[in-house]
């Protein structure tokens, strides 16, 4: 009788099926015999060591998931996008989900120990896989800790293309995800739920962050205005005017989208002088995601 939800078992089998397609027989034998050991009665060191040694067996290639496989992943866990997972990350997740058969208490205890001693690659794999762990509500504090990481790759592992923060973080922790992404230069359009979890508190924090940057003579990402849009208050109008008049077209576009999404009563009047920008945006289908991608490209 399995001690974990049947979805977890299905996810585990799916991950193995990808790996079987891209790894040689030796690597698969190592993974499956190790997983069998971890499901039985393993010593702690077997878990710790096999988790660390995984890349030596699997390499770090991309399994190259097909569109169908990505759809299947998304069906098993809504929002889960493993398209950029490397073989070692998939292998590590497969082993952890095998060890999960030990039950909730053991799983939570050991995975926390692995988090604490993780190296760079391990930390990314661990945070990236948060959405597919069983007992996901037990990882809220760990997720918030990951958001505090000063290592950008680790932060991105949890913040970007990951449904866990959207589904489980409370408002305070969520707002830190968005603010910190701007702070370290990570793109907001890759944060799942950036629109649905926008809120008035976050909008206020972001506007103040913009003020701070401007006072220091620094620029602000056009994406900052995305979660602000629906919560624009009269007192933010002067800031939006400033962005509308920014000579950089991407800034102007961001201000147009933000104001268009706002509930400000005279927004049409505000936007009227920028009709040519608006027309062009409609014509070229400039959405927030396009702005995010263009900005990400321009920054490099």
């Amino acid at each position: 009788m399995s001690k974990i939800p049947k979805e977890t078992v299905a996810i585990r089998q799916t991950i193995l099926s990808w790996l079987k397609r891209c790894l040689d027989e030796n690597a698969i034998t190592w993974l499956t015999t190790t997983a069998d050991d971890l499901m039985r009665d393993p010593e702690d060191w077997q878990l710790f060591t096999s988790f660390s040694l995984t890349p030596r067996h699997t390499g770090k290639g991309l399994p190259g998931l097909t569109a169908n496989e990505i759809r299947e992943a998304n069906r098993l866990r809504k929002g889960w996008d493993p398209s950029a997972w490397t073989a070692d990350q998939a292998g590590r997740t497969f082993l952890l989900l095998s060890y999960a058969e030990q039950g909730e208490e053991e799983f939570l205890d050991k995975i926390e120990k692995i988090f604490i001693t993780s190296d760079l690659g391990e930390a990314v794999a661990l945070y990236q896989a948060l959405p597919v762990y069983p007992f996901p509500e037990k990882f809220k504090d760990r997720a918030a800790e990951g958001v505090r990481s000063n290592i950008t790759t680790v932060f991105n592992g949890i913040a970007l293309n990951n449904p866990y923060p959207m589904d489980y973080l409370d408002e305070g922790a969520w707002n830190q995800v968005v603010l910190k992404a701007l702070f370290v230069g990570s793109p907001l359009y890759k944060i799942l739920g950036v629109d649905t979890r926008a809120n008035a508190t976050l909008a206020k924090i972001l506007v103040e962050y913009a003020h701070e940057r401007w006072s220091a003579g620094r620029s602000v990402s056009p994406e900052l205005w995305r979660p602000v849009g629906p919560f624009i208050k009269d007192e933010y109008i002067a800031d939006l005017r400033r962005v509308l008049d920014d000579p950089d077209p991407i800034q102007k576009q961001a201000a147009v989208l933000a104001l268009s999404a706002s509930k400000v009563s005279d927004k049409e009047k505000l936007l009227r002088p920028y009709q040519s920008t608006r027309d062009e945006m409609v014509q070229k289908n400039i959405t927030w995601d396009v702005i995010g991608r263009n900005h990400e490209f321009e920054s490099h």
Binding site: P55, I116, T117, D119, L120, T153, L182, V184
Partner: protein
């Protein structure tokens, strides 16, 4: 000098600043190894060692990557702290949790400080561990009573059946080199002002002993030391008539061959490293704080004048 690449196979970057990283990069250092060691102030519990191990496999590696330098480490309980028995026993439990991690190239630096019974016990245990898991060993030879400590370290390694080709004996000097080199060990020298080797003496050693199995490091740490010990010595060796081929062996190739045996230290790692840029895997820049735009390779290579008064 820019055309030469260097490895500093022994340097404690947790004690160094970003200015050091910048200078090391500009001097041609492409890869560094950070041996686990004491950190000046004695540790009083195993928790601080756990955090330290995590630091050298995590944050410090990330910091180095921001300057285009590949960072590796060794894991071990140092001799000085082996004298705290409770701490030592707890740290021994931690070592297996780190030894198999990526970029861990050896068990080290281990060996003797005062040559006490406890030092001996934990040195042997760690050599046994390395043998069992087919890992290399980095031996720290003591500051005091050096010759005896060095010879005893080699005796222990041989007693426990580990091959000299799998052991790096570090901090050698004129008095120890013949014993270590003759017995087939990797023979490393530390260019460290005032205490270990000076680089003029190093030139003479290379002239006398050649370049087989000999390499140098800086062991730069929290003391008065020089993270450019390797590139500076390379320049001095060239100036004093040692061939470029030999300089490459002592400042790059031999360290690569020694630690390359671990399978965790590969030239491709730095020859094909990602460009320093946010679009790459090691992205973003929290070293510079405040959402500062990250450095690119080009900017690091054309760093501005140190005398510029403007800080943006």
């Amino acid at each position: 000098m820019k055309e030469l690449m260097f490895i500093d196979p022994h340097v404690h970057m947790i004690s160094r600043t970003t200015d050091d990283y910048m200078a090391m990069r500009n001097a041609g250092i492409v890869a560094i190894i950070e041996p686990a060691f004491w950190i000046g102030q004695p540790r009083t519990n195993a928790g601080t060692m756990l955090d330290y191990f995590s630091w050298i496999v995590g944050w410090e590696r990330f910091r180095a990557s921001q300057f285009g330098i590949r960072h590796y480490c060794t894991i071990g309980l140092n001799a000085k702290e082996a004298n705290n028995e409770k701490l030592a026993d707890e740290v021994m439990e931690l070592i297996p949790r780190y030894a198999g991690k990526e970029g861990v190239v050896a068990i080290g630096e281990i060996g003797y400080d005062d040559m006490t019974k406890l030092e001996d016990r934990y040195f042997r245990k760690q050599v046994e561990f390395a043998k069992k898991f087919d890992m290399l060993v980095l031996v720290h030879t003591p500051h005091r009573n050096k010759k005896e400590g060095t010879i005893r370290s080699m005796d222990v390694c041989e007693d426990l059946g580990i091959d000299p080709s799998r052991v790096i004996i570090d901090h050698n000097n004129e008095e120890t080199v013949k014993y270590v080199h003759n017995r087939g060990y990797w023979t490393a020298f530390t260019i460290y002002p005032g205490t270990k080797m000076g680089n003029e003496r190093m030139v003479e050693i290379v002239k006398e002993y050649g370049t087989e199995r000999i390499f140098i490091d800086s062991a730069a740490d929290w003391g008065h030391s020089d993270p450019l010990g390797v590139p500076k010595t390379a320049r001095l060796m060239l100036d004093r008539g040692i061939s470029k081929e030999d300089v490459i062996k002592v400042t790059y190739q031999n360290a690569l061959d020694a630690y390359g045996q671990s399978g965790q230290f590969n030239e491709e790692d730095w020859l094909n490293r990602p460009k320093i840029d946010q679009s790459q895997t090691f992205s973003g820049n929290t070293i510079l704080r405040g959402g500062h735009r990250p450095f690119t390779d080009e900017e690091l290579d054309n760093a501005k004048d140190e005398d510029d008064l403007i800080i943006k």
